[in-house]
């Protein structure tokens, strides 16, 4: 992987080495799924569900986003989603909903970096 691209991705909180390890050093596969991440609609679903206080839909979207961000080693986003999922499950929906602003900030940071690397 191009050193500049790697550094850019790292600057947005993507642990590229850890992700590459999961993809067994397969750059192309990682890039393919980073593009998938950008195209994935679970973030939008989550925002909408939180607005509408649809906790079931929010849990499902957050759970999926957690899985994707975990696999792609977006460590901060993964932690936020994990906390949110746990809170929904612990029947603390208000605290869970409140995490959406932090998730939005993190998600925005990542997508803008992906765009600058030509992955969107």
């Amino acid at each position: 992987m191009d050193a500049v691209v790697k550094e850019t991705l790292c600057s947005a909180g993507i642990n590229v080495d850890s992700a590459l390890e999961r993809f067994m050093g397969n750059d192309n596969l990682l890039i393919k799924f980073l593009k998938k991440f950008a195209a994935d609609e679970n973030y939008e679903k989550l925002v909408k569900a939180v607005e509408q206080k649809d906790r079931e839909a929010a849990l499902a979207a957050s759970h999926t986003l957690k899985g994707i961000s975990g696999n792609l080693a977006m460590d901060r986003l993964f932690e936020l989603c994990k906390t949110q999922v746990d809170l929904y499950r612990a029947d603390k929906p208000d605290e869970a909903d409140a995490l959406i602003s932090e998730i939005t900030a993190e998600y925005g940071k990542i997508t803008s970096v992906l765009a600058s690397c030509g992955m969107i």
Partner: protein
């Protein structure tokens, strides 16, 4: 042996069941070098693929949270189909602690946490796949060896029967018979036992043993001098007394072969050799047994022996026509038989008579 092994399908396929494309892509990338890969996007599709692929699968990697049917439901279904003993299931879950207890309880092989770490998941799956392969190949070998043992046992049984037939035929040759007599006694005895009330209560194995034993009914004739055995004229009273001892001599001969005592046919053979000339009214020999004192098998062999002797040419007589044979038996001209046995005998006599007709011989020698 090689052909046997080819019958078993090679289990070389890993089935990945996960609704998330990235998860499937990662696992595919990890296992694709070593295994064939099949994928399913939800539990329902996963279950269908398992049932379709069955023994081709060496492992199932199963997500927990999935649409349509979740991982636990899939495992329960696999359990209902008794597949968990044959195909190891690995649950791959983001919440291993919550899933572990139920997963193991249901019979899952291992629980692996997500996001996966490649070398860990690869190692854990590989070890179990190897274990299952070794176990399966061991089972195949045991099965093959068992089949071989059964085959060998059957060969020994066949050889035993062959030797018994050879011995009996050799004795028969001495008084100018072709060897077909013992074969027919065997067939008649078996047919009456199998197809009439007279064999009631006896298993197929019992009947086979009785039929085998019937072959040896005249082994005692080996002790009778040629001059008496092959005499064409009527025997003098003292000669007849000697002839009659073939029953006692036969039983005594069988007693002296210790290896035979273990054989399921021995007790029958001993009884038949000694008592196949006893008659229902007590006027037979050597012991003058009467009625039910004579065992059913000795009774059947005695009527078979008489029927065959009358139907064929012997050194001392010509063959009688069928009607004459039946009349002689019915009217007790060759000694008195159990009325119930006569009834059974005439029920199947039509079939038995085919043995003596050339065109029907093939049917009987099958």
């Amino acid at each position: 042996m090689e052909l046997e092994q080819e019958k078993h399908v090679v289990a070389d396929t890993v089935l990945i069941v996960d609704d998330d494309e990235i998860n499937r892509g990662i696992l595919d990338n990890i296992f694709g070098d070593d295994y064939k890969i099949e994928e399913a996007e939800n539990g329902e599709e996963g279950l269908a693929k398992v049932l379709q692929l069955q023994d081709k699968l060496c492992a199932i990697l199963l997500d927990v949270m999935m649409p349509k049917m979740n991982g636990f439901e899939v495992v329960r279904k696999l359990n209902e189909h008794n597949l968990l003993d044959r195909i190891p299931v690995f649950m791959i879950t983001a919440e291993p602690d919550a899933a572990m207890k139920e997963a193991y309880h249901l019979g899952v092989m291992d629980v692996i946490s997500k996001p996966v770490i490649p070398y860990i998941v690869l190692r854990r799956v590989n070890s179990v796949v190897e274990l299952f392969r070794a176990r399966r190949s061991l089972e195949n070998r045991v099965e093959q060896q068992q089949n071989q043992l059964l085959l060998n046992a059957q060969k020994i049984i066949d050889l035993n029967q062959g030797m018994i037939e050879t011995l009996s035929t050799a004795i028969e040759f001495r008084n100018g018979e072709s060897g077909e007599h013992v074969r027919r006694i065997h067939d008649i005895t078996k047919f009456i036992m199998k197809n009439t009330e007279f064999g009631k209560g006896l298993s197929d194995e019992d009947i086979d043993n009785i039929a085998l034993a019937s072959i040896m009914h005249d082994v005692g004739k080996i002790a009778i001098p040629d001059a008496i055995l092959n005499k064409t004229a009527r025997l003098e009273p003292e000669e007849y007394e000697i002839m009659k001892t073939h029953t006692i001599q036969g039983a005594a001969l069988l007693e002296r072969i210790p290896q035979l005592h273990e054989n399921g046919a021995y007790q029958y053979a001993h009884d038949i050799a000694r008592h196949h000339h006893e008659r229902w009214d007590g006027r037979g020999y050597p012991d003058g047994l009467k009625g039910d004192e004579i065992s059913p098998w000795a009774q059947v062999v005695s009527i078979a022996d008489v029927y065959d002797a009358l139907s064929c040419k012997r050194v001392y007589k010509d063959a009688f026509p069928r009607e004459k044979v039946n009349e002689m038996i019915r009217t007790n001209q060759c000694g008195v038989f159990n009325p119930r046995l006569l009834e059974c005998f005439f029920e199947v006599e039509e079939e038995l008579s085919k043995m003596y007709r050339k065109e029907d011989k093939e049917y009987w020698t099958q």
